[in-house]
């Protein structure tokens, strides 16, 4: 290494690799330019390893098409005619235009839209809240990415849980406190290099080398599937039935941790047989609290109160019944029959005998039974669940069933199990569902105007975002108030996240003012009035607080006139709220970091920090130690203080309180009429090793690896359709069609095709009608808006229907009885 090259350490996030970040890197700088990047061998996340997207970041940062100056639209939206302007002019214009909307309609009439998990999640809230709008939107239908799984886990046990790869321990999975899971369930998740949500995907590979067995639940032949002890190639959208089937087997065969179920779940809480709802103190005692529950004490042979304010029984030495039918006297003297939550939970799971589950999921009974037993008998065992879980309308009952699995098998917050995930030191920047930090709205009244707040329970209780489909509806309806402006940051709505693409373009064109913040022109940016050039992660000081470790992102280089997302947002936030509590971004960082005891500068010097054992944000067994609740008592952050196998929240929201399966819309079972015409299951969203969603198509080292938008088709299906490998085909359904390149291989089952997503062609003309060749191959044209679950969450990304035919026009028929 020559003397004029300096090396600087920092943390990955975006823009650049596009992922959810966290890896430690060493950047080699010469004359102010990045010449090379590599993984930091000392960093606990990646230990010197680094993925293809990060290694190609030089081509990203110095790409000739990178935006370097703010742009103002001249001509019509979509004409691709722009004038370069200075930052002050850009900020003045945005302040004026959004200010006008605020004056005439209210701040809530501007929606601030983001994409996948980036540091902007914190800063876009800062801007929106300073402006006075509660409407921060995540641009995907049904908010169906990560949020629903977090919400379901919080509904069940008050916190989110993830696969324990040793990430909270300084020595990782080599730490003496860690235990290698005997079994890892890979449920709708895939590497390579797909590292979402603060997981380093290859920890699973490290653990395989140490003997962990795999169960893979995935209709595709993934790398994991090939190496699994059990591979369940299930029909997409039926994960809920499989989870209920697993619960049924585990309960029937006694493979659950009965002591845990009795002590730490609400299994013993009584349910009224007349209403089917929880029995409450207010039902049996005049003046009693509706928040307290009852259990049947077998010792006293009578009901006793579970007092949630004290997180204990009112009487000592209670022996709660898990099973049985009891007669309880209500406060008016009448008698009712009551049973336990465990009984009704078992009644529900008993509706899923293995033959029925096999029929629903298209799996073999033996495979289901063996997988359930392998999981339940492995100690510890962990479940790594992916985006496929969110990608169905009935996501909450599905994910609740999966969460129940790790709870009743004794794998909750144990080494090598599913650990409770909290922000390191409770330093919250990007506030995921359930979390609250220093960035907040001025008052709760403003939040009540948030789109989706009134209608959907989870959006009041946990989620700080608008409900996406409702945002689109409201743009067209203007009810209960008009939407007049949009700010899209790190968000390729047109072609990336937005389904029913044409409808979203129509929606954007209705708005008075649209601002896009990005590093490249995209189809979305073509709809903007102002485009602001943002920076990559190497060009900014920022903060990464997402589970663990707590890390700084350190500015290493500068590129032209680009500003980081936080700098852009801070400037505008100050303009919209002169009383912003922070003088500069470093004061904001310090404020966020207060619970850690570190200033931002101190964190920068350390690089990263893992909270020590004993801190509530570090595992294990925190529910026993009183580290989960505000009051410091043992138990969980739920209404009852217990893991809720029967959900008090869902009872409150008038939704089914028990996990269960719902046949999704647009399946061969729910829509045999559509299936006649569209005889293949259309799944989309599979990960590429070199792209993150709709990014990186313009990066040469990456584009050459995955050059074309691909649809995976089974060889037998392709043969029947007369399609050869590498041939361009139409994939079509009732909403639209697009042209993809056939990849003929047995990596998908005969009855399904997997279409790559997020495709547009940066090398094609940007102006309408082309929009970078968007209409040619973008699968979102086939995906419906407005198909979400009863609680506003979920969308059928993984299980629509389609037909496939050669792009020369001839069509074939698939013999359906061969599936």
């Amino acid at each position: 290494m020559s003397e004029d090259v300096k090396t600087v350490k920092t943390t990955t996030w975006s823009a650049g690799p596009g992922c959810h970040g966290g890896c430690g890197v060493i950047a080699h700088i010469k004359d102010g330019k990045l010449i090379k990047i590599e993984g930091d061998p000392e960093h606990p996340m990646n230990r010197g390893r680094l993925c293809s997207r990060c290694l190609a970041v030089k081509q990203f940062i110095y790409h000739p098409d990178r935006l370097r100056k703010p742009l103002k639209r001249v001509g019509e939206r979509g004409e691709n005619k722009w004038k370069e302007i200075g930052w002050d002019e850009a900020f003045d214009l945005i302040e004026k235009k959004f200010g006008d909307i605020r004056d005439h309609y209210g701040a809530e009439s501007v929606v601030f839209s983001m994409g996948t998990g980036r540091d902007v999640g914190a800063w876009i809230c800062m801007l929106a809240y300073a402006f006075g709008s509660p409407n921060v939107s995540f641009a995907l239908s049904g908010n169906a990415c990560y949020t629903p799984r977090i919400v379901a886990s919080e509904i069940v046990l008050g916190d989110y849980c993830i696969f324990d790869g040793g990430q909270w321990l300084p020595k990782g999975h080599d730490d003496p406190r860690y235990r290698v899971p005997e079994c890892i369930v890979i449920w709708g998740y895939n590497i390579p290099a797909s590292c979402p949500d603060n997981i380093f995907g290859h920890w699973a590979v490290d653990l395989m080398k140490k003997g962990a067995k795999l169960i893979t639940i995935d209709p595709r032949l993934t790398w994991f599937a090939s190496r699994s002890d059990k591979w369940l190639q299930l029909r997409p959208g039926t994960d809920g039935a499989l989870a209920m089937g697993f619960l049924n087997i585990i309960i029937q065969e006694g493979l659950y941790d009965r002591a845990f179920v009795e002590k730490w779940t609400n299994a013993s809480h009584l349910i009224r047989e007349d209403t089917g709802k929880l029995l409450r103190e207010s039902d049996v005692i005049e003046g009693g609290s509706k928040d307290n529950f009852l259990v049947w004490d077998t010792g006293r042979n009578g009901p006793v109160i579970w007092d949630v304010s004290r997180v204990e029984y009112r009487q000592p030495d209670v022996k709660p019944a898990l099973e049985g039918q009891f007669t309880v006297t209500l406060k008016d003297g009448s008698k009712i029959k009551a049973t336990t939550v465990w009984e009704v939970f078992r009644r529900e799971t008993a509706q899923y005998p293995v033959d029925k589950v096999a029929k629903i999921t298209w799996l073999k009974e033996d495979d289901i039974i063996e997988a359930a037993r392998l999981y339940a008998r492995s100690k510890p065992a962990t479940i790594q669940w992916g985006l496929a879980i969110d990608s169905t309308p009935a996501i909450t009952p599905t994910a609740s069933a999966i969460a129940a699995l790790w709870c009743i098998t004794g794998n909750l917050d144990v080494p090598g199990g599913n650990v409770i995930a909290r922000y390191a030191y409770n330093a919250v920047a990007y506030a995921l569902p359930g979390a609250k930090g220093v960035i907040k709205l001025a008052s709760k009244d403003i939040d009540e105007k948030r789109i989706g707040y009134q209608k959907f329970g989870p959006f009041r209780k946990f989620i700080w975002r608008s409900q996406t489909d409702s945002v689109m509806e409201q743009i067209f309806s203007g009810e209960p108030y008009p939407v007049k402006g949009m700010w899209l940051q790190c968000c390729n709505l047109i072609g990336g996240t937005g389904y029913e693409t044409r409808k979203w373009i129509e929606a954007l064109k209705k708005l008075d003012f649209v601002v896009v913040v990005d590093l490249f022109m995209t189809p979305t940016a073509q709809m903007a009035d102002v485009v602001l050039p943002a920076t990559s992660f190497l060009e900014k000081d920022s903060l990464r607080s997402w589970w663990v470790p707590l890390q700084s992102i350190n500015k290493v280089i500068t590129v032209d006139d680009c500003k980081s997302d936080i700098e852009i947002n801070f400037e505008l936030a100050k303009r919209f709220n002169p009383n912003l509590p922070w003088k500069n971004i470093y004061e904001l960082f310090d404020d966020i970091l207060k619970p850690s005891g570190m200033t931002y500068r101190e964190l920068q010097e350390k690089g990263w920090s893992i909270p020590p054992e004993g801190n509530p944000s570090a595992p294990y067994l925190r529910y026993e130690k009183g580290l989960l609740r505000q009051d410091g008592k043992p138990g969980f952050n739920t209404n009852s203080g217990k893991v809720e196998l029967y959900s008090t929240l869902r009872e409150e929201w008038h939704l089914e309180p028990l996990p269960h399966y719902e046949e999704p819309p647009f399946t061969p079972v729910s829509r045999p009429d559509l299936f006649e015409k569209y005889p293949l299951i259309l799944s989309t969203g599979r990960r590429s090793p070199v792209y993150f969603l709709s990014e990186h198509r313009n990066i040469p080292w990456l584009r050459e690896i995955d050059p074309d938008p691909v649809v995976e088709i089974h060889p037998d299906t392709a043969l029947e359709l007369g399609i050869g490998n590498g041939e361009w085909v139409w994939v079509e359904n009732w909403l639209g069609r697009c042209k993809l390149k056939a990849k003929v291989a047995p990596i998908v089952p005969r009855w399904m095709v997997m279409a790559a997503h997020g495709w547009w062609f940066p090398e094609k003309p940007g102006a309408e009608p082309s929009l970078y060749g968007l209409w040619e191959s973008n699968i979102n044209q086939l995906m419906p808006m407005g198909v979400y679950g009863k609680d506003g969450l979920g969308t059928p990304t993984k299980h629509l229907l389609c037909r496939v035919y050669k792009a020369d026009g001839s069509s074939g028929e698939v013999d359906q009885k061969d599936r």
């Binding site: 680094l50 293809s52 190609a56 030089k58 590497i191 390579p192 993934t222 090793p689 080292w701 690896i705």
Partner: protein, 114 residues
């Protein structure tokens, strides 16, 4: 004419190669290869097996351009591909030493150059 006997090689445990392509891009970055070529290229292999089964495998193959990162190894650094491998399934060393480490199946020892 006697060909020179190769001294150093790459040992790959391809049971664990996940097809992340990091090695391929690391080599391109290290040696500034234009897109389309480089010192190591990853192959995706879908194997048909009896009883309607299949197996997905990836295999990195050093090419004519592989120089075994001589500039790095002379300073005691690992070749760029080996260092960055996400699955930590690659090793560089003397061929006779690496050969002794073939203690399981699904490993391949490449001798990219003499």
């Amino acid at each position: 004419m006697m060909k020179k006997k190769p001294e150093y090689g790459l040992l790959i445990d391809y049971e664990y190669c996940t097809g992340c392509y990091a090695c391929q891009v690391a080599c391109a970055q290290e040696h500034n290869w234009p897109a389309g070529m480089g010192g190591i290229r990853v192959m995706e292999i879908v194997e048909n097996l009896p009883k309607d089964k299949a197996y997905l495998k990836f295999l990195p193959v050093p090419t004519e351009l592989c120089v075994l990162c001589a500039a790095r190894t002379s300073k005691g650094l690992k070749p760029a591909c080996v260092q960055t491998c996400m699955a930590a399934c690659m090793k560089y060393g003397k061929i006779e030493d690496l050969a002794k480490e073939i203690t399981k199946s699904h490993m391949v020892l490449w001798a990219p150059r003499a």
